[in-house]
Amino acid sequence: MDFFANIETGLQVAVSPEALLFCFIGVTVGTFVGVLPGIGAIAAISMSLPLTFYLDPTIGLIMLAGIFYGAQYGSSTAAILMNIPGTATAAVSCLDGYPMAKQGRAGVALLTTTITSFIGGSFAILLLMAFAPLLASFALEFGSVEYFAIMTLGLIAASSIGIGSPLKGFAMVLLGLTLGLAGTDVTSGVQRFTLGFFRLHDGISLVALAMGIFGIAEILASIKQQQQVSALKGVSFRSMIPTRDDVRRCMWPTLRGTMIGSAVGILPGSGPSIATFMSYAVEKRMAKEPERFGHGAIEGLASPEASNNAAVQAAFIPTLSLGIPGDAVMAILLGAMLMHGIAPGPQFIGNNPDMFWGLIISFWIGNLMLLVLNIPLIGIWVKMLAIPYRILYPSMLFFICVGVFSVNNSMFDVYVAIIFGIIGYFMIVLKYPAAPLLLGFILGPLIETHFSRAMLIGRGDYMVFVESPIGALFLGIAALLVIMSLFRAVVPRRREHRA
């Protein structure tokens, strides 16, 4: 059957020594980065982008993806052991994971995390294998109207489903969109927002923006907050074995988490962060004894972790099949693919079957590597956490500077990164979310193209969006999300006070 032929293609690519090596490097770097507070997956991926230019594009993507899901594993470790989430998604793992560690059950928590993450990720990979080609063939029928509708839905989802003020999220989308328009306009050849800078003729560098907003800004925000970590006792193998009760309690939550994660991950515009919080909330709702949550309830750890990894893998579906990123990290991976000259979209799977199936098989391999690696290496990660921040952050600043410079051999880009670092810092302080900005930035030129083309087709009539059933559907969902956000803002938030 075609399916098995595809798997074979994928295996050939993913099992090559080079692919295995870089997959391993990716997941290890990812775990390392996830464990360390202050650098997130995004900064790590942006920093590794220049390195991937020297690699075969498939291998480069394998490594970058490995960093992504590796970081999820790593950040849970830090969250459980130290109550310090390495990434936003791990914040939920702190809630019940850290209490478990305090109760002496750190080993069980870590093992649970590793296994449920693996289950969640595996299921989503299956979904990816089944769905993405289907979606891609379906999407070949899409025209500008449909693309505009999906992208709009993605941007609205990114701003409204996330945590925090939807209005601020939306404002950031707008800002990102406009920044994305800077540079030479493809249609008219006009220079927009270049302020006389020759270097801006090609637009603002994605790496400079990403490293500034996610790298430099995070460092600026973290310097004052880093406290010295107290020495931790090691975690022994025996302490990891869960009791039968634990296993029984985890089964349904893991399943629910996987489902929620996959569903949320598939939606363009929403990703792991949202999935994790949602599954925690759902788990707490469905629990027979909700008071246990926040005090070491293993369900509160299992479900979000499964959901997390499922969403990470599922987010690849819209990215690879439609070319629409579901998350800030996906946006950067998309940017990476564009830089390599690969155009993601419905034709991507058809034109590059090796890359697509190779990536997917490498996801399996990566997840397996993580499963095997994490258990013995936990001791090392723990020691890693003891590196004082005052040594870490100048190092990170150095790598950011050289990394940004190396993309275009341009010091100008480093200036851009510095400026966005300052802007990003104030965004963090004022609670304006950064991910919608990045998504808007990447989708900006695309949305403009599709909108103007749609208007051209529809002869300036807005009805053209309603006439297409798919376009109307997506725009309808987007409108629904907007209404829900307005509702949420007006109705007093009783739920948040219950925790």
Binding site: L167, L175, T178, R192, P394, F398, C401, F405, F426, R459
Partner: protein, 147 residues
């Protein structure tokens, strides 16, 4: 006990100001018609929307009840920015060893009192690592030392 939330209002104002900037610059270009959008259309539209968002945010977040104001450390921002700017200026002039040393030293000001030995060692280690990975490995045109 409501208090005027200066920081939030400042943020919203900045947002609106950016929006105004986009409108101003966007009007430099032809707007076109709905049927054939010109290069100025979307920037102006986005700018107007941003001004609107800024306005609403200003109204909604104008007051705050008894919350701790967000901690802004200008010292951190200033020292890290100065450190990074020093790097960008010194590297083309003196090579990245000097640039990195200065950057590490200045950026440490953000964290607390600076002792000389530790950051110096770190800077030299970083320069060596950077040289190996980027200059030797990836052939980035960055010179370690320029006399």
């Amino acid at each position: 006990m409501a208090r005027v939330n200066v920081i939030e209002i400042g943020g919203a104002l900045a947002l609106a100001a950016l929006g105004a900037f986009f409108v101003w610059k966007g009007l430099d270009y032809p707007l076109g018609s709905l049927r054939r959008l010109g290069p100025g259309a979307l920037p102006v539209a986005m700018g107007v929307a941003m001004i609107g968002c800024g306005g609403v945010l200003m109204l909604v977040n104008a007051t705050v009840d008894d919350e701790d104001p967000p901690a802004i450390s200008m010292r951190v921002v200033a020292s890290v920015t100065a450190a990074l700017l020093a790097w960008t200026l010194l590297v083309p002039l003196f090579g990245f060893v000097v640039g990195t040393i200065v950057m590490v030293l200045i950026s440490r000001l953000a964290h607390g009192p600076v002792k000389l030995l530790e950051p110096l060692t770190l800077a030299i280690v970083l320069s060596m690592a950077g040289y190996l990975i980027f200059v030797y490995g990836l052939r980035i045109p960055l010179r370690p030392i320029i006399w």
